[in-house]
Structure formats: C-alpha cells, structure tokens
C-alpha cells in the first residue's frame, strides 16, 4: 500500500475541511495527497441531437473550468505549504470513480467531507460519503 491519501474535492467548504484534515494527518505520516475531482456523468443519460454534436466541445470546456477554478487553486495552496500533492479529474459516478482512483493509486485511505445535512434526497438515495463508507475497499475517513 502506498502512502497516499485520496481527498474527494469539489471546492465546497466540506471538501476544504477534508483537505485541511488530510494535510494535518500527512504532517505526521508523511503521506502524499491526491486531489480527486469527479464530474458527475452517466453514459446512459439522455442527450438531445444538439448536445450530442457539441458533447466533445462541452467536455473540453468542463474539464478546463474544473481545472482552473477548482483543482489548480487547492493544488497550488498545498504545494505552497510543502505538501506533496497530485491531482486527478474524471467523469463518472462519484463513489464508483473515487473507488477506482483509490484502487489505481493503491491509496492508504479516502478522505471526504460531509455537508451534515440530512435532506430527504440523501435519506432516499444515500450520500456520496455514505455510499463510499459502504463500498470502499480502503479505509474511508468522513470529515464532519
């Protein structure tokens, strides 16, 4: 097992707490941090004709926006702190993709923040953090 923490990061305050926690832990363990950003996507969703034709362009735009607005700032701030950090951006189902990233990186654990809100939607369909806790092959730390 590599000494690496996967941090699920979407730019939210909860995700920022997860990053802070990971940084704190890595000071003692010396682990590297992998910032994982997943763009929700299903290959079975419906697109109109026009969306089909523009899909490749939109995908390029979405990735560029996610990189510049979400991933790059956090990577820069961690680098400035001297924390060893890498990043990964992917499309897919969020929990499934986080697990795939963790497996490929042979990570020590996944760290994810939770919003703490118990909405009816989350109760019915489950949250990303809850789903991860149930299906992840590596330890999951849920940061409140």
């Amino acid at each position: 097992m590599s000494n690496q923490y996967i941090v699920a990061y979407d730019g939210s305050p909860a995700a920022q707490r997860a990053v802070d926690y990971a940084v704190e832990r890595s000071k003692t363990s010396g682990a590297a941090i992998l910032i994982a950003h997943v763009l929700e996507w299903s290959p079975y969703s419906f697109l109109t004709q026009e969306e089909l034709a523009e899909r490749h362009m939109r995908r390029t735009e979405e990735l560029a926006r996610a990189k510049s607005a979400i991933v790059d700032p956090v990577v820069a701030s961690l680098t400035a702190k001297g924390v060893p950090v890498t990043s990964d951006m992917r499309y897919g189902n969020v929990p499934d993709t986080l697990v795939a990233i963790a497996q490929e990186a042979d990570a020590a654990q996944i760290i994810i923040g939770r919003t703490g809100q118990s909405t009816i939607v989350a109760r019915l369909f489950g949250s990303v953090a809850g789903t991860l806790a149930q299906m992840s092959p590596v330890p999951v730390t849920i940061v409140p």
């Binding site: 763009l39 996507w41 290959p43 079975y44 969703s45 419906f46 697109l47 109109t48 004709q49 026009e50 969306e51 089909l52 034709a53 523009e54 899909r55 490749h56 362009m57 939109r58 995908r59 390029t60 979405e62 990735l63 992917r90 499309y91 897919g92 795939a100």
Partner: protein, 519 residues
C-alpha cells in the same frame, strides 16, 4: 463558384416563397387556409408526389417501396447477413463493455442509439401500423417485420459512413450525415457528381424535416387533442407547440427537451408493457393471431390487391417508421466518439429491430388479438368498406384504431395514448429540426443567421401543419422523405465497398482479440 451562389440564391428564394405563402394565407384568410395552401401545393408539387409514389407500369406497386426493399436486400446479402451475425457484439458495445473509462464524458454508443430512436419511435409505430393493417390486413405485419429485419442492414451501412465521413470542427463540434459522406466518399473514390447528389439530398432533407418531421406530427397531435377535448381550432395547438419548440431550439432551453426525452422512454415502456399485458391476457388467441398474420401475408385474406396489397402496406409503413435507408439516422449517429466508425454501424442496426420488429409488431398484435378487424364468419375473409379499407369493430382508423384496441382492455388507455402521441410528436419534431438544420447549414454555410432563419421557418410550419388538414402538403413531405432515400441509397451503393473494407478489417481484429474489453 458563381454557379453555386446562384443555386443558393434560388434555393433561398424558393424557401422564402414557400414560407411567405404559407404565413400569408394564414393571416389573410383563416377560413380558406385549407383551400389556398392545398391549391398552391397541389399545383406546384403534384408532379413530384405522383413521381415518387408512381406505380411500376402494369402493377399497383409504388416503385419507391421496391427501391427501399431492393436496397435493404442488397445490403443484407452484400454484408453477409450482418444483422444476424453481430448481435451479441452490438449489445456489448451499447452496454459499454468496450468503452474506455478514460473517454467518460464523451457521447456513448448508448446515448447515440437512444437519441436516434427517439427520432424514429413515434406516430409511425402507433398510427402507421393501424393504417397498415386496415388496408393490408393482419398479413401486412409479416411483411413489416421482414422489412424491419432487412432495414437493419441499410441502417448499418449509412450510420458507419455517417461517422467515418463526418466533419469535425476545431472547436470540438461535429456535423455528419449523407451530405458529408456522399461528398467526401465520392471524392475519395474518384467518382463524379458527389456534390450535386449531396445538395439534392440536403434539399429533400429540409423539405422532409418541414413536412413529415414537423407538419405531419403537429397535425396528428392536434387530431388526438381534438379527439379528447372536442374540436377546437388547430392553430391554437400549433402556436403552443411552436412556442415550446421555439423555446428549445432557438431559446436553448434544454431542460424542456430533457424532461420530454426522459418521459418518452417511460412512455415507450408503458406502451410496450400495456401491449404485453393485453397479449398475455389473450394468450389463447396468440397462436390464431399469428396464423392470421402468416396466412394473410401470402393470401391477403380478401384485402384490396390481395397478397401484394398486404406486402406493400407492410413494407411502406416499416420504411416510414424506422427510416432505414432514408439517411436521417446517419446524421444522429455521427456524433459518437469512437476510433472505429463501424462500431456505430453495429449499434445502429438495433434501431429498426426495436422500432419495427418489436414495437410495431406489438401494436399490430394488439389490434389483431382484440378483434378490431372484422371478418365475414362464412368465408373468413375481411369485410371491406367502400374506400377499400377493412371495416373495424368500432369504425375507428389511424391512431383511433390503436386507441380502441387498447381501450378494449384498459378503458383509461386512450388518455395515456394522447400524452404519448403528443410527446412522441414533440421529440420527433426536435430531432427533425436538427436534421433539417444540418442540411440547411450544409447548403448555406454554418452561422448564427443561417441557423436562426431555418429555426424560425421550422416553427412557422408547425402552426401551418396543425392549423389545417393539408393532404397535399403531407403527401409532399412524405414524398420528400422518400426522395431522401432515393439520393441516399444511390450514394450507399457507390460507397458500400468502403464499409465492407472497414467491416472485414474490424472483424479480423476483433477475432484476434485486439480490442480491449473493460468490463
């Protein structure tokens, strides 16, 4: 170049005149809209309609039907019954077994298939089938299934070419379809006339999109609404439809389209489920129904034109419903992200199967099983009305017949059917507005002004289509859709060796295990 510009100008003028005449007659004299537009169209387009639907001398068989069937048979034989050989692989492709996870976020095979299906599954499956069996009897179903199976090979050919010769622009968007593969493919093979054929296709495609893909849909949706809520002026339905379509295609409000498109598959499943339940409830009549279908297919059971009448109706409605060979699907499928164009061909051949062999057959079975077609108890032959159509149990025809057949089992089903018809009509319009637009921009160039011109014209034609029963216009638009098939299939005949090369190369590599399976 100068010559091409002249052609363009003439085309713009012709389209503008058509739109202006239609709009003019609407505002000036609402009462005589029917007569005016009918007269204009009948006078100027009658020769074209007559030509497309002309019978082969000495028979009552429209040559266009023979043209489609011969093409589908040629492709089936040329590609060695491709539709039966690659079934398993097609399903693997659609379910994403060969999709690289790194390509997530790009258009998947599944998405291209579902979008193309939402353009073809529609009134053809509900109203068209009812028309086929009232004219051709139960036997028409057999020929419809056969045409659906053969049509799979036509779809395979055109969609492979659609992906192979699409235009990819620097900003990442794509445009594809017969106009592109005919131009580029002919140039590649050193054949003359590619450009002329492509422009011809584009003209028919624009006309087909305004007619069959628009006015016909609006018209039928209004008929359904009027059937439920009582008669009211068609332009009201037309304006509402036009406003919603305008919001989607001009206003870019994708949420409306997405909501509709999410309900459409659900409607399809509900329709399929209801049909299945009716068939299961009448299990004892299934075997006799198939007997009636097979027997009728070869004898006609007394329909006008005998066995040939059944055959023509079956083939004609199948072609209408699944659009195989028409070229429209090649536009829809060309956006998929793949290194192997042939894989999109494998996926697209499932379309006529789902549309015709499954859904159309279900409709036909329900109509036959619930005893909508009346027969003479003494002879077992169909009872015919004065117009040569089979007398139905309730006297209903078209969508009404399908509705009556389902209502005999579920009294509430006609209401579901109204919603289904409206949604199907709407999704078909959205799809065809795109096909028409691609043909339009092929002729007049890509650009915001050109796009807006077409989109506004498209919305105007919705109102015209719903406002009146424009038989000659609908005849003309049907003729335009079939005319697309004439041009497209000529192109396919010349380009099919290219598809064959792709196919052989792909199958060799597939057998050698060169394609990685990810799931």
């Amino acid at each position: 170049m100068l010559c091409l510009n002249k052609v363009r100008l003439a085309l713009i003028a012709a389209f503008a005149m058509l739109a202006a005449q239609a709009a003019h007659s609407q505002t000036e004299a609402a009462q005589t809209l029917d007569q005016q537009v009918n007269a204009i169209f009948a006078a100027s387009t009658g020769w074209f309609v007559n030509f497309i639907f002309a019978p082969i001398p000495g028979t009552n068989v429209a040559w266009i039907v023979v043209w489609l069937v011969v093409a589908a048979s040629v492709f089936t034989i040329y590609f060695g019954f491709i539709q039966f050989r690659v079934w398993r692989h097609s399903i693997h492709l659609v379910s994403g077994k060969y999709s690289d996870p790194n390509d997530a976020g790009e258009v998947s095979h599944f998405q291209a298939l579902v979008t193309a299906l939402s353009g073809t599954v529609g009134l053809g499956n509900i109203a068209g089938v009812a028309v086929a069996v009232t004219i051709g009897g139960a036997g028409a179903t057999f020929w419809m299934i056969l045409a659906g199976l053969l049509g799979m090979a036509s779809k395979f050919t055109e969609c492979t070419l659609g992906v192979k010769y699409r235009n990819e622009y620097p900003n990442g968007t794509v445009s594809g379809g017969p106009m592109y593969y005919i131009t580029k493919g002919f140039a590649e093979r050193g054949l003359p006339g590619g450009k002329i054929l492509a422009v011809l296709f584009a003209i028919f495609c624009v006309l087909g999109s305004l007619g069959g893909g628009n006015m016909f849909q609006a018209n039928q949706a209004h008929q359904q609404l009027a059937g439920v809520f009582g008669d009211f002026p068609g332009w009201i339905t037309g304006l509402i439809f036009a406003a919603v379509v305008f919001a989607v295609i001009v206003g870019g409000i994708k949420s409306i389209a997405q909501v509709t498109e999410k309900i459409v598959p659900f409607m399809g499943i509900l329709y399929f489920g209801a049909a299945l339940i009716i068939i299961l409830m009448n299990l004892d009549r299934v075997v006799p129904a198939f007997g009636e279908i097979i027997n009728g297919a070869f004898t006609g059971n007394g329909v006008v034109g005998g066995f040939f009448g059944a055959l023509i109706q079956g083939f004609r409605r199948a072609a209408f419903s699944n659009e195989a060979g028409v070229g429209s699907a090649a536009i829809a499928h060309s956006a998929v992200r793949t290194k192997e164009p042939i894989t999109e061909g494998f996926v697209s051949l499932m379309e006529p199967f789902i549309d015709t062999v499954v859904i159309c057959t279900m409709t036909a079975l329900v109509i036959v099983i619930t005893g909508q077609l009346t027969t003479d108890p003494a002879t077992g032959l169909y009872l015919l009305g004065e117009d040569g159509r089979i007398l139905t149990a309730t006297g209903a025809t078209g969508v009404g017949l399908t509705s009556a057949a389902f209502a005999s089992a579920f009294s509430w089903f006609p209401y579901v059917l109204v919603v289904a018809v409206i949604l199907f009509a709407f999704s078909t319009m959205i799809s065809w507005s795109y096909y028409g637009l691609k043909a339009w921009t092929y002729m007049f160039g890509e650009g915001k002004t050109q796009e807006l011109t077409f989109k506004i014209m498209f919305c105007v034609f919705i109102v015209v289509g719903a406002a009146a029963s424009l038989d000659p216009v609908i005849d003309f638009s049907d003729a335009a859709i079939f005319a697309m098939a004439v041009v497209n299939i000529i192109g396919l005949y010349f380009l099919m060796p290219i598809v064959k090369r792709e196919l052989n190369s792909y199958l060799e590599r597939l057998q050698a295990g060169q394609f990685k399976r990810y799931k």
